[in-house]
């Protein structure tokens, strides 16, 4: 299935993601309280508010995503700021000139984003991080729709519950991390859901 990711979709995606983060901020913070330091919701909310506030009036998808990346990097701090910021920056850099991205452009951009997450965080799939939502989402996108990717991200996030954390603050808990969802995987599932809705 094909779709177009132009300025309108990019803008819609970021706005929808900001709304979802707002709606789920408390949930994300509560998840982080269990195995981290209880700030993932407030971190992401602060960041996505800054993203929306900073969005330029004009600009192609690359420019919009780059603006979002810089806002996240400047405002979030913690682990999630550099991770999401790097991801969006890499996506933006994958296609700087085009006014509209094809579905193939978007897929490549998201793979570049994923490579950025790996490079920045040095984690692997199965370490109980946001990667565990991203990888299945990208795999689903290879032959399926954005909705399929969103569904896969959510399933991947749900699967983190059984995992033992190997990276981030949760890793200090060792065995005690098992039985809790990874908060970053949940905020990543929200990201793929926002993207699917923007492309629907």
């Amino acid at each position: 299935m094909t779709h177009t990711f132009g300025p309108a979709q990019a803008r819609d995606f970021l706005q929808r993601y900001a709304d979802k983060i707002s709606a789920h901020a408390q949930e994300l913070t509560d998840l982080d309280a269990a195995i981290g330091d209880a700030d993932h919701g407030s971190n992401m909310q602060r960041g996505m508010q800054a993203v929306v506030a900073a969005l330029p009036a004009e600009g192609n998808p690359s420019a919009l995503l780059k603006s979002a990346a810089m806002a996240l990097i400047s405002k979030v701090g913690g682990a999630s700021g550099p991770l999401y910021g790097t991801a969006l920056l890499r996506a933006a850099s994958s296609q700087t000139d085009k006014a509209e991205w094809t579905s193939e452009d978007l897929r490549a951009a998201l793979e570049a984003a994923y490579a950025g997450l790996i490079e920045r965080g040095k984690a692997q799939v199965g370490d109980k991080t946001m990667l565990d939502a991203w990888r299945p989402a990208l795999d689903a996108l290879q032959k399926g729709t954005p909705e399929a990717a969103a569904t896969a991200a959510r399933a991947g996030s749900d699967a983190t519950k059984a995992m033992l954390a190997k990276k981030g603050r949760a890793s200090y808990l060792g065995e005690r991390s098992v039985g809790h969802l990874d908060p970053g995987s949940v905020s990543s599932a929200l990201l793929f859901e926002a993207l699917a809705e923007a492309l629907a």
């Binding site: 330091d37 209880a38 700030d39 407030s42 971190n43 990097i73 400047s74 405002k75 979030v76 701090g77 913690g78 682990a79 700021g81 550099p82 991770l83 910021g85 790097t86 920045r120 965080g121 954390a165 190997k166 990276k167 981030g168 603050r169 890793s171 200090y172 808990l173 060792g174 005690r176």
Partner: protein
């Protein structure tokens, strides 16, 4: 929660403002983005930048000055600062010989400093980084986020700062910092939790007969929650893993640093330090230098950490070199 503060959102900035007023002879404040740097010029010297979440005072801002840090970026309480702060501070202290980032090993700190280093490089400033993880309470460091940066950070900042002050180049200062990291280990314990202002309630609660052994400086859990013990037993419990990990043996010399987590009176810290010295003397290890006090804290947490550093003659010379900062001063 009872804190001497106005609004939660303002506590870090207002504290930095008060700090800059009190120490105007030594530091300058930038409020947007937020950082503190030396009042005197950095030209001709390698810059030393550190930073991290607030709530660990005097670390890092208290160590800005002659012979120690050039600048520090305070994040929100227990939250990493952001690259904007680091980049602005990097520019402020760049004196042409490059800048060394001193990063405590927490995922957020590491990534934000990494991003800052990339941004600084893009602006033509040479940056190197050291990531310190001296906390022996984290045992399995290969498969996890690794050992946390704790008390050893203070020693690293002092010793690397002395090298930078003496005019060493960036590679040399980095090597000095790495020399500290190889030889320094720490472990801490908590008798009480601490309350992050934004959270409003203690991050954990311990009963009157409990303590948490192997705590990090944010109250992250450690090795075990166990029964309260006598001062001498507590010290022995912390020293064991440190000495084992360093492989300290008879005839060696160390710097011994007994640190309070913020809410423990000096009266008690010195009781602990007495046993640190006695324990080491019993092993034939000589305590060549001592540091006792609240230097890397966790808000009002009660508890302590012990840091030992195996020290060469050259490292002791750098330790003894003059330092003139709000929180550490001697020799000048």
């Amino acid at each position: 929660m009872k804190k001497i503060m106005n609004a939660v959102a303002d506590i870090v900035r207002e504290s930095c403002e008060g700090f800059a007023l009190a120490h105007a002879d030594l530091v300058r404040l930038s409020t947007d983005p937020l950082f503190l740097c030396r009042a005197d010029s950095m030209s001709g010297r390698v810059g030393l930048l550190s930073g991290g979440g607030s709530g660990h005072e005097p670390l890092h801002s208290g160590f800005i000055g002659r012979g120690m840090l050039s600048a520090a970026c305070p994040g929100e309480v227990f939250t990493s600062p952001v690259p904007d702060q680091m980049l602005a501070a990097t520019k402020a202290i760049s004196g042409g010989k490059g800048v060394l980032y001193i990063v405590k090993n927490y995922t957020g700190d590491v990534m934000n400093f990494e991003l800052a280093a990339e941004l600084a490089a893009a602006e033509g400033i040479e940056v190197q980084s050291v990531v310190i993880g001296d906390d022996v309470a984290v045992e399995d460091s290969t498969w996890t986020a690794g050992r946390r940066g704790v008390g050893g950070t203070v020693l690293l900042e002092k010793i690397a700062g002395a090298a930078a002050e003496a005019g060493a180049d960036l590679a040399e200062v980095k090597k000095v910092a790495e020399g500290v990291m190889e030889n320094v280990r720490s472990m801490g314990l908590a008798l009480t939790g601490a309350t992050v202002p934004a959270a409003g309630k203690p991050n954990f609660v311990l009963a009157d007969d409990e303590m948490e052994l192997g705590i990090g400086i944010h109250g992250e859990p450690g090795r075990e929650r166990t029964a309260m013990k006598s001062a001498d037993e507590l010290v022995d419990a912390l020293l064991g893993p440190i000495i084992g990990d360093l492989g300290l043996g008879r005839g060696e010399e160390v710097i011994a640093f007994t640190n309070g987590m913020g809410g423990t009176p000096l009266l008690e810290l010195y009781v602990a330090h007495r046993q640190v010295v006695k324990h080491l003397e019993g092993l034939g290890v000589r305590v060549a230098r001592h540091l006792v006090g609240n230097f890397i804290t966790s808000l009002e947490m009660q508890g302590m950490s012990i840091t030992l550093m195996r020290a060469s003659a050259e490292q002791l010379r750098l330790w003894d070199a003059p330092v003139v900062t709000p929180a550490l001063r001697w020799g000048a």
